[in-house]
Amino acid sequence: MTLEIVGMTVLWTFLFGYIIVGAIDFGAGFFNAFSIITKKQHILSNVIQRYLSPVWEVTNVFFVFFFVGIVGFFPQTAYYFGTIFLIPGSIALILLAIRGSYYAFETYGNRGHKGYAFMYGLSGLLIPASLSIVLTIAQGGFVSMENGNPTLDYYALFTSPLSWSIVVLSIIAVLYISAVFLTWYANKTGDEKATGLMRKYALIWALPLIIAASGIIYELRFHNPAFYNQILDLWWMFGLSFLLWIATVLLIWKRKKYGLAVWLLIIQFALAFYGYGISHFPYLLYPELTVYEGFTNQAMAISLIVTFVLGFALLIPSLYLLFRLFLFDKRYVQGKKPKEGDN
């Protein structure tokens, strides 16, 4: 395995981690807002707040890891994507700020401002939408070099069915992932009403997910045939992903083994996500930049990988502790221990 591939695999894994934990967070925010509007708040808000509050900073770090890591491993991406990503990037940052401040101001401070909860919920859908644009841009066709500087063709981007289907998929995926996870979490807390509601949401979003995903593959055939053919070569990964999707939906439908359903869902998304990544290889930005041209020097690559391994050795036990206390601790999850003050 070359250093380029190690680097790319590390980054892609961070991005995958962000997509899963981020989706849970974003979707939960949306369901929370939605339940306030439909006056079902009492069903959901407890479940959501018990899980989200201690974990959201960790979620955010996955994102930071990705964009810091990619500049380290592939410094040229800072130049290409940095220049063209100013507007969608800034919008995503402002939306992330709204989410972060919601945790800061609402959960730690005083609870219950409706407008704020609504903004918070909406931002959860708009963040994946604005961030997913980078995947569209990376497929090429929207960037031209003017006076040696990369320039983004906004008109082409906003009128392309491909970019809209990616946006739609990202939103649906957020809702689906989050609903499946929260079904399991609510079930663990023993809250039957919340479980039932989340289960319903999971089933609602299951079919649109597959339709949107297939639609993207279909559109790629016209937009970037080379990429499309590479995806076809990996048909088994996407096929397996599809089978896992069926299995997940069946489990949820039959109200069985929600925990297993979550794992199947994660593997389903992993297969599709890594399949997408491998098909994209070796391009970081079609057709301007490949992982080989954009790679950093050997010394930096090795030190980053060593840091990564050491850092992980430090983080895994800490994360284990965190999850044991807040995700898998029965008493905490069920809210039995009385909480004190504003903490």
């Binding site: 940095g82 730690y108 401070g109 003050g341």
Partner: protein, 447 residues
Amino acid sequence: MMLFDDPVFASRFLTLLTLSFHIIYATIGVGVPLFIMIAQWIGIKKNDDHYILMARRWARGFVVTVAVGVVTGTIIGLQLSLLWPRFMELAGQIIALPLFMEVFAFFFEAIFLGIYLYTWDRFEDQRKHLLLLIPVAIGALMSAFFITIVNSFMNAPQGFDLINGELVNANPIMAMFNAAMPTKVAHVAVTAYMTVAFLLAAIAAFQLIRGSNHAYHKKALNLTMKVGLIFAIAAAVIGDFSGKYLAEYQPEKLAAAEWHFETEEGAPLVLYGYLDDDNEIKAAIRIPFALSVLAFGDPFAEVIGLEEFLPEESPPLIIHYYFDTMITIGMFMIFLSLLYWIGKTRNWAFIQSTWYRWLIVLGAPLSFLAIQAGWWMAEVGRQPWILRGIMTVEEAATTSDYVGLMSIFFLLLYIILGVGTVVVLRKIFKNNPVENELASTQGGDSK
């Protein structure tokens, strides 16, 4: 307007905005964990509920600022690439390592902070709970350490060769341990502790002025003023080392900050004053030989003047005011906290007077102003370079036309976040004063 026509100017403006806002939260983020630790430790040792409550209340306020700091930190992290793509392309090859490490350090801190905050009542033994704070404080300090390394690299780049614009022979470890690193890292850490000490002291003093005569506030004031004194003195000592670093490695920054135009031996230190139309210094205080002492520790040493540098490579002279602001406030805070210490040991009455307490309250915004002034001096004083001697800000900035527009959005965002922080913190503490909380926990003990 330049903001909308000139991407370089707009990028500088937005970076100034983001960094100036972020540094407030970053300073609190680095400093407060230490004080929570000290308070909880004293509380356990002396078996004094007041100190335990102090730790709790500080922690409760701390979370809000950390959360906003996470947000602003994420923003500046991504903005580096969005606004300075050419810089990150070059720097990514050599200084990405500490950036990467910083994320780990922060991750580590975030995990344990989460655990610490939600486990106040889960441990029978308070000391175990205190242990959870150690990774928080270390993580916060390491974050500052790694990020400041990146900044010191911008001032004193090393660990690579540039051949035909290509970066070769990269040595990321050597790049991290550059000449600017020791003084800069130490100064950042110590001033963060100093500023937070005076921030917490100001809160205690303000409660005393408002008529609460509770021992809790007196203990808090006593603790923070004394620790603050130690760090204020340390900040001054390290500031002196910073001067010596500048004289050796970035003489143009020192010369511009001191309005020291001509190379001379036994140079005086110019304080305050202004420049007239002919660039003559007016109304300034000159301390004979002091600049030579600051620069080399020798009153007769030769200090290089600004005349020896190309005008287009000299920093703007405005940094003199930033320098003056920083050291004036630093000296004032040493004086103020020293007075407290002496007054306390000798039982001087004015320590309890309202006017003196108002000065302590004033110390908090002043300390933050000193932090801002210090960073403005560091950053403006590096102009025109983003990477000293290698790349200018103009070469580094984005070519996108929309930075001005984005700046407006971010400005609005920072106003909302800033106001929100104040409102929420007020709400948390106003509805739950110390007296009530002490009464309720003591009531709780008996059941």
